[in-house]
Chain length 358, copies 2
């Protein structure tokens, strides 16, 4: 990975280069052994994967650029996973990168649509509606939501790759600038630059390279909405991933999920089956999603604290899961973690869930 | 397909919708049977595939956006092909779309690079150098290059989906505005909007749907440069596709290739093995690449006349090949065509070759 942050002078390809070199070094597999590269980003220009790989050395391999909004990185992982699982290639590198503009992320609704006229094309507004609905239906409190931010920022302090390493109290989170009621500034993910990369390889050759504990992909699912603002999207995607992995929510030791806004973590914990519907607020309240809890969520600091460079996020989640499953996550280590789950949700109505096991 | 042209009032998603509906209708397979969608475009925004599929009906399938400059469409075809060939899905739709800005396409060289300072970041300049080199090395003439434009515009007149349906003489091509010596305006592909789509399905189920002659993918290759302006890229990519198809250049009945500039067709004919190195100019001169010749090239009108909406091109080439191999290409039919080849080359140093057979 490349540490998330603000790098106005550093091109996206340089962020990605550093992440890629780190991944190759970690895997102990040389660049010229890569048989294919998948690059994920949203808005970094044309042939970005090719520009990154040029810096690594032009070896002539196929390079494929993949985009799926916030789920771009996880979509790239899935394409690489299937290509390898089906024997098209033995070794692949996946590189996710983004440099974000400042300000609020838009993206939803066509020009002139009612959605835009109502100001619902920006993300905080969309999540604020979800938050209000959840508060109304399940008596979820603003304090419970704020606790997601508090926990994830605390976790981020333990992650050298996180954009923010600063603790906040519930009171500070709630007192920060109101963005879209009830979502305050410290309940929104920051706009960060960053890059992450990972080397994927076929099970048959993975033991060839080094003695580090191996991490396997047990489940992979990618789905889109069946209706506008499809409330079942994450649950449906998770179901497919659980089925592929022959696992249940109870088998998951920890998760990296899409906490772009605090209500997101609460909703996704429910959809992923970590608690019954409506109890996501209580789940965080009782400390069960802390690193020491029974279902730690976003030990990396998540989108809230690590940051959310769109094309990077899915790949960064994978990095965190690999470190955790190897027992190499240092101060943020989830004890005896054997199975980790990643989840991303993207504008346009796309969701991806991966399950990794040691 | 959606006819290439200028559609300032029509969003890219509407162009793509029309192309997708045409493809579904042609295949005789309903939209809700699609198991995955691959969308290719270069600069149409975030989650474009999802926005197109929303108009077709939200069925919840995985949607993957793929970009590879001018080779975006062929990269999407390849991803879909491998997913199906490996049994991940049985039926996929590939949709390529682009609305182009007016003016000269840039894309090469980083900000502040020597390439940019010299003005070599724009495409006509890059191809002009190749043209001058070819003229110097092989005595290729400006008339021979102009004949590529004349032939392809003549072919385009027979294609209802082509942007331009107008014949030109060699004299008119050479007398048109000089863009970058020796490349004149009528030797550059126009900037067109357009969309193309195709339904791909597994061989085991293809006969289930209709009685139209079936077209199979026999070879698929995607490669990138091994050095800057890699002169061997197309030849190396073609070699891989020929090997996969167990074919030789002599087995190809016709080709749709990347004639963004007339010299491109001459160079690519050599690299694809349709004539010896240096004889691409003579090949077009002798009429062998005409529709009635022994190796017709760009019967659709090619990029020169059909147009080159970046994300569309690879998919549009596939459409032309399917029509030709079915014997359904009407006035531009290549007689008894059994094997067709498509070739795209993209900024960033990427090339794709596909071989299709009846």
């Amino acid at each position: 990975m490349h540490k998330c942050g603000r790098y106005p002078e550093k091109p996206a390809t340089d962020l990605a280069l550093e992440a890629a070199l780190n991944a190759l070094d970690d895997a102990g597999i040389p660049w010229n052994a890569m048989e294919v590269a998948y690059a994920s980003h949203v808005a970094q220009g044309v042939s970005v994967g090719e520009a990154i790989c040029e810096k690594l050395g032009m070896t002539g391999i196929p390079i494929i650029n993949v985009e799926n909004a916030c789920a771009s990185g996880s979509t790239a992982i899935r394409e690489a996973f299937y290509a390898i699982a089906n024997g098209v290639y033995d070794v692949a590198i996946v590189i996710g990168v983004e440099k974000m503009n400042r300000g609020v992320l838009g993206g939803a609704g066509e020009e002139g649509s009612l959605e835009r006229e109502l100001g619902l094309n920006v993300m905080p507004a969309r999540y604020a509606l979800k938050a209000n609905k959840h508060m109304h239906a399940y008596s979820t409190t603003v304090e419970q939501m704020a606790k997601v931010s508090v926990k994830n920022h605390k976790n981020g302090c333990l992650n050298p790759y996180a954009h923010y390493q600063k603790v906040f109290t519930v009171e500070e989170v709630l007192a920060s600038k109101m963005i879209c009621d009830p979502i305050t500034l410290l309940q929104c993910c920051p706009t960060s630059d960053g890059a992450a990369a990972a080397v994927l390889c076929a099970a048959k050759i993975v033991r060839r390279y080094n003695s580090k504990p191996k991490v396997f992909i047990a489940g992979s699912a990618l789905k889109t909405e069946k209706y506008k603002d499809d409330a079942d999207l994450t649950a449906r995607t998770a179901k497919a991933a659980y089925e592929m992995a022959a696992m249940e929510p109870g088998d998951i030791d920890f998760a990296e999920l899409h906490d772009a806004f605090t209500i997101g973590e609460i909703l996704h914990c429910e959809s992923l089956g970590f608690c019954p519907p409506g109890e996501g607020g209580v789940l965080v309240d009782t400390g069960r999603t802390e690193i020491g809890g029974d279902i730690p969520v976003n030990p990396s600091g998540g989108l809230q604290s690590r940051g959310h460079p769109l094309g990077m996020t899915g790949v960064a989640q994978l990095c965190e899961v690999v470190w955790q499953l190897r027992g190499a996550a240092a101060k943020r280590q989830v004890e005896s973690a054997k199975v980790g789950l990643t989840h991303t949700q993207g504008a346009g109505g796309v969701c991806s869930v991966h399950i990794f096991k040691r």
